[in-house]
């Protein structure tokens, strides 16, 4: 293989990786900043993909119209999900309830659309062909769009958290509920809003995924694990690190696809378990935190 092919592979890997970074951002924020375990998060990505599909193919909406509808809808879904089902602070309760939500979403989608995989865009996506180092770079326009959208959304999101009133209040509330309520803020509403915002990110990720990958009722499991993987490599709640970790995972994933496509998932998830178990950065139960709990 020559330089051009390798460059193509790396560019495509990075673009896929930016998508993974985007997928993990919502989860990372929910876990790291809001202290919420959301195991329905892959399922919501999957449902978002199907809503896009339904909007564009059944209701004849243009993508530019379907996306805002989905984003607004998801904000309220997130808000009310937190306000009704996820009030408990017990992580096990959150895991069980969100698993239940995932089960409901998946089975309803399976019932409505069946197990047959679908794809949002037909045909081969348009590409740029650029002569480079004695070969030709083949770069999908969609990939570049994905990269741009992911970076913009992630930069925008972290700016939002650092600079705006709501973003700062969310961080304050999670760190100290009592203080926040003294400031005249209802901490519950703020956390609900934060959860809603994380769902906006989920919606955007769902849109970007649906443009590139097939839609299946079980697709959520895969993106959920990818999201976990990226978060674990980056450290939970670390949004910027999440983007870089996403790029890394994207590269590994692309390489795995080229050299051992059938073992792609196995390689990724074994890597996941190994990192989780042996890299202390990803593991938050350090000796120090144990001693603090005693």
């Amino acid at each position: 293989m020559n330089v051009a092919i390798w460059t193509t592979i790396i560019i495509n890997g990075l673009c896929t990786g930016s998508l993974f970074g985007l997928v993990s951002a919502a989860f990372s924020f929910q876990f790291g900043a809001l202290r919420m375990m959301n195991f329905a998060y892959g399922a919501f990505v999957m449902v978002g993909m199907y809503i896009m599909y339904a909007g564009m193919h059944h209701f004849g909406l243009h993508a530019a119209a379907a996306v805002p509808i989905l984003v607004v809808l998801y904000f309220f879904v997130g808000y009310f999900l937190r306000a009704t089902l996820l009030k408990s602070a017990d992580p096990n309760v959150q895991i069980i309830i969100t698993s239940g939500v995932a089960l409901v979403l998946e089975s309803v989608v399976l019932f409505i659309v069946g197990a047959l995989p679908r794809s949002l865009l037909a045909g081969i996506p348009p590409t740029w062909k650029i002569p480079f180092a004695g070969g030709i770079l083949v770069i999908s326009k969609l990939n570049i769009l994905t990269f741009i959208v992911s970076s913009v959304v992630l930069i925008g999101f972290s700016t939002f958290l650092k600079r705006t009133w709501l973003g700062m209040t969310i961080r304050a509330v999670v760190q100290q509920k009592e203080a926040a309520s003294l400031m005249g803020v209802d901490p519950e509403k703020i956390i609900n809003a934060g959860f809603g915002i994380s769902f906006v990110i989920t919606a955007i990720a769902a849109v970007m995924i649906s443009l590139q990958f097939v839609l299946e009722p079980t697709a959520g499991h895969y993106y959920q694990l990818i999201g976990f993987l990226v978060c674990v490599i980056a450290g939970m709640g670390n949004l910027k690190g999440g983007f870089y970790a996403g790029l890394l995972v994207g590269l590994i994933s692309t390489m795995a696809n080229i050299f051992a496509a059938t073992w792609h998932d196995a390689i990724l998830f074994i890597l996941f378990v190994i990192i989780l178990t042996f890299l202390p950065n990803g593991v938050f139960v350090s000796k120090k935190s144990i001693s603090r709990a005693v």
Partner: protein, 332 residues
């Protein structure tokens, strides 16, 4: 001071236990009530329910007692199934060899899980179980020469009357449930629960946490593997669906809705497994996914309102409340 042995047999004879035992008797007589082919479906349902009781009891040991919340329990079930099928189909061995191989294989993965749990707790342990389950599932789907990919393996066995499977499944469910109840009251059970309740205090009281976590996951893995082999031998086919997250979720649902950490939990909860067959039978296979929808909804409702499951519902108090609600109140 009472003799310890009589004391705990005495503890077992409670009105609730007797009532449930009496209710189980008609189930045992199913093969005699129905004649010929009519008995096949009810027997099949009982076999499935009984095997879910066993699976749920093993998850109950791992997660209910020891507090290691696993979302990948189907792995052990699938390993048992595949070990049996591979031994029979590919290696032409006796099914018992396959059963034993499944147990050994699962025990190994139980050890692995124990090793992981010594480094990871809580949420991080849970996601590592999901990832491991996914790895095993991918191997089952991709290692075509051995596992035959998504088609799975079809095994051929001598014809055995379903009634044998029926009684074997019930015997297994009863035995494992009694084992669970015994374990809960044994020294080891106390160690498990101590780890779940307060790992630091358990350590400082001399409990070897890593050892007991590992023992717990190995026990759970080995028994779950036996169920996998049993069901594979019964249904005569194994495919990657055995390793599907849906199976893990069903196991968890059965235990949590019944009551996590109690021997009766999986027994009460497993009745829900009938729901799927009921929907399939009355509305048709097209509507079968809706069973999972109902599972999800029931799980959420229980988690919100009765987090300790059916076991925690106080019948006496519920009756008293119902009677109070029904009797006309005098106005003051």
């Amino acid at each position: 001071m009472q003799n310890a042995k009589t004391e705990w047999i005495g503890d077992w004879i409670t009105p609730k236990n007797i009532l449930v035992c009496v209710l189980i008797v008609p189930v045992l007589l199913i093969p005699f009530f129905y004649k010929g082919g009519a008995a096949l479906l009810p027997m099949h349902l009982v076999i499935m329910v009984a095997s879910y009781i066993v699976l749920a009891q093993t998850w109950n040991i791992l997660s209910g007692l020891t507090g290691m919340f696993s979302l990948g329990h189907a792995t052990f079930y699938g390993l048992g199934g595949y070990a049996l099928a591979v031994a029979m189909v590919k290696l032409k061995l006796n099914p018992l060899v396959g059963l034993a191989a499944g147990i050994v294989l699962s025990a190994f993965f139980g050890l692995l899980l124990g090793a992981i749990s010594s480094r990871l707790t809580g949420f991080f342990f849970t996601i590592s179980t999901i990832a491991l389950a996914q790895v095993i599932r991918t191997i089952a789907m991709q290692w075509t020469p051995v596992t035959n990919s998504i088609t799975g393996l079809k095994i051929f066995r001598p014809i055995v009357g379903r009634v044998y499977f029926f009684y074997a499944a019930i015997a297994m469910a009863v035995a494992v449930s009694i084992f669970f109840a015994y374990l809960r009251r044994s020294r080891m059970g106390s160690m498990f629960v101590a780890i779940r309740e307060n790992i630091h205090l358990a350590r400082s009281l001399g409990v070897d946490v890593v050892k007991y976590k590992t023992v717990s996951s190995v026990i759970a893995a080995m028994i779950a593997s036996v169920v996998g082999s049993f069901i594979t031998y019964y249904i005569q086919v194994v495919d990657p669906n055995y390793l599907s997250p849906i199976i893990s979720e069903k196991i968890i649902m059965v235990t949590i809705i019944g009551g996590m950490g109690y021997a009766w939990g999986p027994i009460f909860g497993s009745v829900l497994i009938l729901l799927e067959e009921f929907i399939r039978g009355t509305l048709g296979a097209r509507y079968a996914p809706l069973a999972s929808t109902l599972y999800g909804i029931i799980l959420i409702v229980f988690m919100l309102f009765k987090p300790n499951g059916i076991v925690s519902i106080n019948l006496k108090r519920s009756f008293a409340m119902a009677i109070r609600a029904l009797t006309p109140q005098k106005e003051k």
